[in-house]
């Protein structure tokens, strides 16, 4: 069984501030990590390999330094990795990202199961997984909370829906996005880290893509455009209270009473 896990490097912190004077985002670019949700997808892939055999590959898209997450994945049990990187891919929205990723996946190999995390912590859209499935024309199931078993040409999973849990058989090749807590992600192994620290990875750039239309990638391939960014505005009627504990407790209590939350 060939398993692929899509992973992403995200900022280590989501504390972003806007410089009031310049309107520029302040972010510490050096501090980054693997998207926490991807750890669950990776763990799922490694568990499937341990139980049913096969290989786990990882793929990521980003700047050259994003290859760090591939090595992190190696230390957790991934076998091979690919980085999709090119300045032409910069400024990609969900559609352009999923297109680039799916082109990279096609280049990387044929896979039975593609696993994605539920969402990323920086984009928070949870959309790239299903869009990749559409680009690859394969079935997908999101919110997978349990894997029951793998059969010859399919996998049986539980999909978490708001009111019920659906037991679903999905035929290969397929894409699954897994929920947090499907499995507890393992810690990176120091031994594996040492063994794989110099491992070769595949690097795919624009010239490796099957679709050579530049207008389908990066900013040009992105139907959505960010017009402006701005700090959130608030139109609330506001009161700021300071004082001693006793004074403040009384004030809150009176307010709750006045608004009829307590009698």
């Amino acid at each position: 069984m060939k398993i692929l896990v899509c992973i992403k490097q995200v900022p280590g912190t989501n504390k972003v501030e806007v410089d009031e004077k310049t309107g520029v985002l302040k972010r510490n670019g050096a501090d980054s990590k693997m998207n926490p949700y991807d750890l669950y997808a990776l763990e799922t892939g490694v568990r499937l390999k341990e139980k049913y055999g096969g290989t786990v590959s990882v793929i990521t898209m980003g700047p050259p330094q994003a290859k760090a997450v591939l090595y992190e994945a190696f230390s957790m049990g991934a076998d091979e990795g690919a980085l999709i990187t090119d300045r032409k891919f910069g400024g990609a929205d969900v559609l352009a990202t999923s297109r680039t990723l799916s082109q990279g996946i096609k280049r990387f190999g044929d896979f039975d199961i593609i696993l994605c995390g539920l969402q990323t912590t920086d984009g928070d859209t949870a959309q790239v997984g299903p869009e990749v499935a559409e680009q690859l024309k394969i079935p997908s199931v999101c919110n997978v909370q349990r894997i029951e078993k793998v059969e010859k040409d399919n996998i049986i999973v539980d999909m978490d829906m708001p009111q019920d849990i659906e037991r679903i058989k999905i035929y290969f090749p397929c894409l699954l996005t897994v929920q947090k807590d499907i499995y507890q992600p393992r810690l990176p192994s120091y031994l594996k880290q040492k063994e794989t620290s110099k491992k070769d990875i595949d690097v795919f750039t624009f010239s490796d893509m099957e679709d050579q239309d530049e207008n389908k990638y990066g900013l040009n391939g992105s139907p959505t455009h960010v017009q402006r960014i701005f700090p959130p505005v608030s139109d609330k009627v506001q009161q700021h209270w300071q004082g001693t504990t006793e004074e403040l407790a009384v004030k809150i209590y009176e307010t709750l009473k006045e608004k009829k939350f307590i009698a």
Binding site: V94, Q127, Q227
Partner: protein, 398 residues
């Protein structure tokens, strides 16, 4: 291909220019700047850098599409066996408001099996036309079949914009459909507006930080957006109905899927924070796991539910179902009290529609105070026990 061209000779301070980039995509070496694949084309370097140092070059104009061929605002009807999810009504209300601005109709797309009887209700919430695709094959949500129906609908009706509830189904179906039409999709919009030229103005928290982004899909149709439950206002039920219901036909072979639903297990009904009138939220100001009890006690004394921010869920202290924010739940309670919550944009997006917001934080500059109706600078460890005491001795819960 639009690109950024760096004119090294115009750079006065390469390090300062590199520091402008919020994504760390500019690298300075020996006073020269190179742009890496981390670039998101935000063009801050063009606007804020030394004049002419970084140039935005657009070498090929893409032909503009004819927007008049796409008309109307469509809403995907989210439901379980015909029981319509209330986010659908909220979106119909929003769609009606947007459609009125551009004098275009509101459509609803209703996909399932044995659902026809429920279509009429949608007219009462302002749909001008409800397209119903009612087939036995559509009893369960199978993404391939549902996407095919969506495709059929878009090809037939050509709506200018489509709103989808950000539910378990919507979050899978909307991206799949958007990818099929090679069009834009903006997730979890918190504000929607429309321009005269039918461009949908989509506003959402972005870049994982305390920042909002206004997003347009200027040259693609349909425009697609997802919106969470309880973000938009629910419209009133209208007694008189003028809209129509129309059957949407689809060829059987298009409903084939590589997915089989083997069984369904009902989940036990849990008390959720989604429906609670009163919510008390624990934030990172709570220092130890056992201190959560204090926050829980306050919630109990008000007959409310405990919720938390993401860090506490990630630490494993609180059940993920109780997390408020973009990666958790969106809530709209009558009262929310945040305790030691700093107030990231993601968190605020999940709760700023609460009727009354009381925020307690020891930092007078906490971001949450911009959202709160009552901003209280105090240590939660001092004030909450005092407040619980007051409530216990002074009053009863209504």
């Amino acid at each position: 291909m639009a690109k950024l061209v760096v004119h090294q000779e115009k750079i006065t301070d390469a390090k300062a220019l590199a520091a402008l980039c919020p994504f760390g995509a500019m690298q300075e070496k020996d006073g020269k700047i190179t742009i890496t694949a981390g670039c998101r084309m935000c063009r801050i370097c063009v606007k804020k850098g030394p004049k002419g140092a970084v140039e935005y070059v657009e070498d090929k104009k893409v032909p503009a599409i004819d927007k008049t061929k796409w008309r109307g605002i469509a809403v995907y009807v989210d439901h379980v066996d015909g029981a319509v999810h209330p986010v659908t009504y909220e979106l119909l209300g929003k769609a009606k408001e947007l459609a009125a601005k551009i004098h275009q109709p509101v459509y609803a797309l209703f996909i399932g099996s044995n659902i026809e009887h429920a279509a009429e209700e949608l007219l009462h919430y302002g749909a001008d036309k409800v397209y119903v695709c009612d087939k036995p094959e559509l009893e369960y949500f199978k993404i391939e079949a549902y996407t095919s129906v969506f495709e059929e609908f878009i090809n037939k009706v050509k709506p200018s914009a489509i709103l989808v509830g950000a539910t378990s189904v919507g979050r899978q179906l909307a991206p799949r459909t958007a990818a099929r039409f090679n069009t834009g999709l903006t997730a979890d919009c918190t504000i929607l507006d429309i321009k005269e030229n039918t461009d949908l103005v989509q506003i959402r928290p972005a870049f994982g930080g305390n920042i909002m982004a206004e997003i347009l899909t200027p040259n693609n149709r349909p425009q697609m957006a997802t919106v969470r439950y309880k973000v938009m206002d629910a419209p009133k039920w209208i007694d008189s109905v003028s809209g129509q219901i129309e059957k949407l036909e689809i060829a059987e072979e298009k409903l084939k899927a590589n997915i089989e639903v083997l069984g369904i297990t009902q989940k036990p009904k849990e008390k959720t924070i989604d429906a609670a009138d009163v919510i008390v939220v624990a934030g990172r100001g709570v220092k130890k796991r056992q201190d959560l009890k204090l926050i829980e006690d306050l919630a109990k004394s008000l007959g409310g539910e405990l919720a938390s921010t993401r860090p506490l869920v990630e630490a494993g202290w609180v059940d993920p179902k109780r997390q408020i924010g973009l990666s958790g739940r969106t809530v709209r309670p009558k009262l929310i009290i945040t305790c030691g919550v700093s107030g990231s944009v993601q968190f605020v997006a999940g709760m700023n529609h609460a009727e009354t917001i009381i925020a307690i934080n020891s930092d007078p500059k906490a971001a949450i105070f911009k959202t709160a109706n009552y901003a209280i600078t105090a240590d939660i460890y001092d004030i909450i026990p005092e407040l619980i005491q007051k409530i216990k001795t002074g009053g009863t819960i209504l």
